[in-house]
Symmetry: C2
Subunit: 128 residues, 2 copies
């Protein structure tokens, strides 16, 4: 870890923690958001920790597993971090689907939180 | 346009202009970046208007056409805009491929510029 830039370290730690919680204990994801955080989930918008956790907790699948194909991280001009994740998702007995998700992470009072989150399935993204 | 929030208007205008220039006159994309802008292209990192334009201009395809499947935009806590695009790309005679790209747009001296840009093909993102 020592040689990696801080945004790579912070971003990859966030990604690991986020999907671990998502797959094992979704209500705990609330600890990663703040009251001004925005989530766009398949085009639907949610704002604030409570709304976001309610949305994520109410997704209808029982068992879910994320597998990360690639992740990229960059520093932003405002000392935040942008992360983009490409991966696959396996929900219950559904076929495996591609997904992509982008985050902005910001350090507030010494803790990195997620202020922006966008998720899309890659379902409509296949070659014709 | 009048009823849309400003980040939707700015984000969707940017997306339209960006892919129009990409498909018709790639060297002109330089006008959208600044010297601190970061591009991560398929995992490779580039910084600054000159490096980014050189990378985008040197991509080996002749004809390229982007088709946008979905785009999302959010305001960030630092008065920037995050945009995520999902779409398909047709380069020369290659098969159509899925792609996803995320941007941060920032207003600097009255103009919206792209400070962060991440691109990945969805090639490795298909269901098993």
């Amino acid at each position: 870890m020592g040689d990696k830039p801080v945004w790579e370290q912070v971003g990859s730690s966030f990604v690991e923690n986020y999907y671990h919680l998502f797959d094992t204990d979704r209500p705990q994801l609330g600890s990663m958001y703040i009251d001004s955080s925005c989530l766009t989930w398949e085009g639907l918008q949610f704002q604030g920790k409570a709304e976001i956790v309610q949305k994520l907790s109410s997704l209808s699948f029982g068992n879910i597993a994320h597998s990360i194909t690639a992740q990229d991280h960059q520093p932003t001009p405002d000392n935040s971090i942008m992360s983009m994740v490409v991966g696959q998702i396996k929900a219950d007995e559904d076929p495996i689907m591609g997904f992509h998700q982008s985050f902005i992470l910001k350090n507030i009072n010494g803790a990195w939180v997620c202020t922006n989150d966008m998720f899309r399935l890659a379902l409509h993204n296949y070659a014709a």
